[in-house]
Amino acid sequence: MDLSFLEQLLGSTVEEEEGYRNIWVVAIAWEPHLRACDLQVVGKARNLADSLGAYVNVLLVGDNASEDLARELIAYGADAAFWGAGYPTGHSLLDFFNQHKPEILLFADAAGGRKMAPRLAQRLKCALVTHATDLSINAEERSLVVAVPIYHGAAYRVVECRTNPQIATVQQGVFPTPEYDSWRSGDVEQVELEWKPEPPLTPVEPPAYYIPLEKADIIIAGGRGLSGAGWQLIEELAAAVARRLPHKAIAVAGSRGAVDEGWIGPEHMVDLVGRTVAPALYVACGIRGTFQHFGATEKARCIVAINHNPDAPIFKHADYGIVGEVEEVIPALIEVLES
């Protein structure tokens, strides 16, 4: 079997195809307002478009899409906004983009986009990168360069798209929300796509699981630097974080000192003689930071330390430290979280 043309196909770059231009964003209005994640994508698209010399067009769909929301999108940075109230069928979306030929097509990595993007990409057999944490343009090739975290963030895969359209879904909160500029103008057009009945999404209570300390995402830990009454603050901080991030597993723990003082049970002790933890974020409040404590927390991906003693050894092992009274810093943190 002659495979030379197969090798050519696998090894070649694809030339820029005729007619693919402009950056498109697909936004979804599940509720009668625009989602922050969609606006962040529009803002970044604006950025990318300026460096490419292209326009930013937005397609707004969803049951609550409206002309008003479309106009808002113009103010947030779009040059043109197309809208239609409803959830488009795969085929009509395919036809729409075959007609408009976007060079780059962006979705927010959120409800709707997560499913829509891969399905569209499969129909188009084009480039798709998901969960992006960074977007940039390779000016020579006019291609989108996307960074995606792999292996729990230990490294990033940097992907350069080779076919048009180049589709990417962007993680929430990566890019800043753009400014609302009421002076911006642009075209707003209603479109008629084929709509399909999508059952309304009603959120339910997240299932309750017992999260062992070793599997928590975020741990708030307290040490002897608190006083007995001060232990309350640890619980309050954990509650505030849990409210802010309801889908993450938050747990409370204590250093050996806190357990010896009786403020928390020994099953919550983080120490070489207790439990070893590896959360995404470990907040050590009023903990001095002996090597036994460090040995149990060194696998945490990010450590924050709060202690009134600037010479406390814990600051050497923490990514971020705040020197101050725990009784003042924790309430300040809670205030920022709630705002």
Binding site: L3, A117, P118, R119, A154
Partner: protein, 260 residues
């Protein structure tokens, strides 16, 4: 009823090292394992089988011959069949082509009502195989990032996780489900099943010829890839200012770093 679970072999994240000088991942001494989210999907499928023994669970994977190990593990856990798609051409397939090949294999199996996979592959950070398969199989519905997947008559129901919330969804079979990890630990394979998985059971190996695929007609890979290693963690940074200022700055930095 037939359930197909698509599993992937990846390098164990605990055994790889990151080389800052060479901006690459050092995989010498790295162990190959089944992608943990796919292990959860397998577990969920086997639980359906436990509840209804007439359900047939088939594990499917694609890659080099040593991917056979994860399929043997799937057999040890209780799958009825294990199929490896492997030859010189299919192992080079990526994304769209990959979905096409796997879908062809699933269609060949006939009467498959549910296709399950983990919500993400840890080594690529992407979770698009489920929706892509759904298109190739004939525009099937997808339960994405689903928790508590259940089979109720001719429907697949579950809690889809999106935007930090859970939504109850129900789609008619046949459907695709990408399964979310849950904190409890999965089942253990029985010692006898482990021994038998290697000494008695078979892993079927299908090539592109057997699938009737023309490898030249597969879509070409659409992206080029490189690795970027983030800089080493800097410890000992002190956030200055009054408690209020420090708190603001700290939260902003944590947000920028995508920790919260």
């Amino acid at each position: 009823m037939r359930i197909v679970v698509c599993i992937k072999q990846i390098l164990d994240p605990e055994t790889i090292k990151v080389s800052r000088s060479q901006q690459t991942i050092d995989d010498r001494g790295a162990r190959k394992i089944m992608n943990p989210p796919d292990r959860w999907a397998l577990d969920a499928a086997l639980r359906f089988k436990e509840a209804d023994p007439s359900i047939e669970v088939i594990a499917l994977s694609l890659g080099e011959p040593d991917v056979e190990d994860i399929l043997r593990e799937a057999l040890a856990l209780g799958c009825d069949r294990a199929i490896l798609l492997s030859d010189a051409y299919v192992v080079k397939a990526r994304t769209a082509g990959l979905a096409q090949i796997i879908a062809t294999a699933i269609k060949r199996l006939r009467n498959v009502q549910l296709v399950m996979t983990g919500h993400m592959a840890l080594d690529t950070g992407s979770g698009t195989l489920g929706p892509r398969l759904a298109i190739e199989l004939g525009d099937w519905p997808v339960l994405m990032d689903v928790d508590q997947l259940r089979l109720e008559g001719n429907y697949a129901t579950g809690l889809q996780h999106a935007d930090e919330k859970y939504y109850h969804s129900s789609y008619p079979l046949p459907a695709v489900a990408t399964v979310l990890q849950t904190p409890a630990h999965p089942r253990y394979a029985h010692g006898a099943d482990i021994i038998n998985a290697y000494r008695v059971r078979n892993v079927e190996v299908w090539s592109s010829l057997a699938l009737g695929i023309d490898p030249t007609a597969l879509p070409a890979p659409t992206t080029g890839r490189q690795l970027r290693i983030p800089p080493a963690r800097q410890m000992g940074f002190i956030v200055e200012g009054t408690p209020q200022e420090a708190a603001q700055t700290l939260i902003a930095m944590l947000r920028a770093r995508r920790v919260i």
